[in-house]
């Protein structure tokens, strides 16, 4: 079975996002970028499946600016076999919406014919939590979101999902789209030899136009602002008042 893993280049999770002074978005110039942490878990899952023998090829795909090739290189260094870069934006500040990403991924799936698509459950930049579900809808495939356990067995997969209040286990028909949650695994570090080997692995470069997908955003960004600043603290007079304040703030 071939697995397609979708990975996104995002601001490094250790870097604090700062809103640009003109309110047009978050400043991404000269900021350390990395692979979306949830996508790293998806790559790890794919590689483990290959090591276990259930998968014979792992193809990483990224859609965005040209620099996303670094992110794909990371996936290759972790153990993916080859990569497809779909250049869909020139400016690092232009986020390609999940709907357009899903459409491009659908076209890639049509070409590559994988038996499974893995992706992170959401990207830590736009926090949309949508691409996997949308791709699944466009393909008419089953979906298993927020996976913390995945077992593929022939024509179906059993997936444990992290849902509000606990865990849900479902059985889905293959082929399927599975989006992964934090507890699925701990991604490996790329070893030095694999980092060096990654540059020799094949990486195709395409554009959104190659797949005939219009990436014009459906959501126009009106403005981006810092969240309301922390209110100055206050001294409350009694437990009653404290409870009232906490309820008002939605904290209890």
């Amino acid at each position: 079975m071939k697995v397609l893993v979708a990975v996104k280049r995002v601001i490094d999770y250790n870097v604090k996002a700062r809103v640009k002074s003109d309110g047009s978005g978050v400043d991404l110039a000269n900021v350390k970028m990395s692979m979306n942490p949830f996508d790293e878990i998806a790559v790890e899952q794919a590689i483990r499946m290959k090591e276990a023998g259930t998968v014979d090829e792992v193809v990483a795909v990224s859609i965005g600016v040209k620099q996303a090739q670094e992110t794909l290189r990371t996936a290759l260094a972790m153990g993916a076999d080859r990569a497809i870069l779909v250049v869909a934006a020139d400016d690092v500040h232009q986020d390609i919406e999940p709907l357009a990403v899903a459409k491009i991924l659908k076209a890639v799936v049509d070409q590559e014919q994988p038996g499974l698509v893995l992706a992170g459950k959401q990207a830590i930049d736009n926090d949309m939590n949508a691409t996997g579900q949308m791709l699944s809808a466009l393909l008419g495939w089953s979906q298993g979101t927020f996976a913390s356990e995945v077992a593929v067995d022939g024509d179906h997969a059993v997936i444990t999902r992290e849902v509000d209040g606990g865990l849900q286990t479902i059985k889905v028909k293959m082929p399927s789209i599975i989006t992964v949650d934090l507890r699925l695994n701990e991604p490996r570090y790329a070893s030095l030899p694999n980092i060096m080997k990654a540059k020799k692995k094949p990486m195709d470069e395409k554009t959104a136009a190659d797949y005939g997908v219009d990436v014009t955003p459906r959501l126009e960004i009106i403005g981006t602002a810092e969240p309301a600043a922390r209110k100055a603290g206050e001294i409350v007079g009694s437990v009653d008042e404290l409870v009232a304040k906490l309820k008002e703030a939605g904290a209890v």
Partner: protein, 309 residues
């Protein structure tokens, strides 16, 4: 224009709080039709009909709609979509599973986790884990929206909406439910807990740390401790929050009998809401607390525990 609200139904019952909060948001967009679906959903439908602001309730009962499997639930919503400009749901994990699928089937972008409604096309939502708030204007004919419930008040009761029963659409048969496991009621892990109650040297003894534990249990919170409390033997090592202990950032952090040495602050200053209870009104912890209570913890903590149970 009309709004279709996917009510949160769990095992046949309405999750009233989440649904009522989403109703408040949805009512800003137009007349709200609440859709209750599941293997059984009639009782949820009745509950939804009583929420003020709901003008109509649709109930769809079918085995394939049980456990809110995304494929069948999305197919049902899409079959109803012609009549609505907005399709809305509370941003629960169930709705987040379903709504992007609905959006893609309608060739529209989903607008997730909306925290503010500017107008029928314009929404505010947090991005970058809440480090920024973005305002977006949708150019889609249909708007598929999930609502961050914590920013809306729940709609009241008193509604008398008519209830119509509708049928499910053909089950695409892509997935089936196996089992649910509710989270164990044990205390959550310190670094990932939504609420943390921490005790300091002011607690005075290992025995009195039970006060902290009782408050934590009342809140479903993890327990933390200052280094001073750990060093004094009141609390085990792995409870320590601070520079040399664990770094936490829960939604609510309650510091009890903690003076607020800079080592401790380093481990919890990113918490969303900080409460400090200390009898020393000059304790540095009050400088960073959102709510400070100058009081004897031995009186205040049991009272607070009782109130929050």
């Amino acid at each position: 224009m009309a709004v279709l609200l996917l009510a949160e139904v769990t095992d046949g019952e309405l999750a009233l709080d989440a649904t009522a909060k989403a109703v408040t948001a949805a009512a800003k967009l137009g007349e709200v039709t609440a859709l209750c679906c599941g293997a059984s959903a009639a009782s949820a439908g009745e509950a939804a009909a009583k929420i003020a602001g709901v003008t109509r309730v649709l109930v769809a009962e079918d085995e394939s709609l049980g456990h809110r499997l995304a494929e069948s639930t999305a197919a049902l919503i899409v079959s109803l979509a012609d009549d609505y400009e907005h399709i809305v749901a509370p941003a629960t994990t169930d709705a987040k599973n379903v709504m992007p699928r609905v959006a893609a089937l309608l060739d529209a972008m989903v607008i997730s986790d909306v925290s503010g409604i500017v107008d029928g096309n314009t929404f505010e939502r947090p991005i970058y884990a809440g480090n920024a708030i973005q305002t977006v204007r949708s150019t889609d004919a249909k708007k598929i929206v999930t609502i961050r419930t914590s920013t809306f008040d729940a709609a009241g009761d008193g509604g008398t909406a008519p209830i119509d029963t509708i049928s499910a659409v053909a089950n695409p048969g892509l997935s089936e439910w196996v089992e649910d496991k509710l989270a164990a009621s044990d205390r959550p892990e310190l670094t990932s807990a939504g609420v943390v109650v921490s005790g300091g040297r002011g607690v005075g003894s290992e025995e009195d740390f039970k006060l902290i534990e009782a408050l934590a249990d009342a809140l479903g919170a993890a327990i933390g401790a200052s280094r001073a409390a750990v060093d004094s033997g009141y609390a085990p090592n792995d409870w320590q929050v601070g520079q040399t202990g664990k770094v936490v950032a829960p939604a609510l952090y309650i510091a009890v009998g903690i003076s607020g040495a800079i080592q401790h602050l380093a481990g919890m200053k990113d918490s969303k809401i900080i409460v400090a209870i200390n009898k020393d009104e000059d304790a540095p912890i009050f400088q960073i607390a959102d709510y400070g209570l100058v009081a004897d913890l031995f009186a205040a903590v049991p009272e607070l525990t009782e109130r929050l149970k």
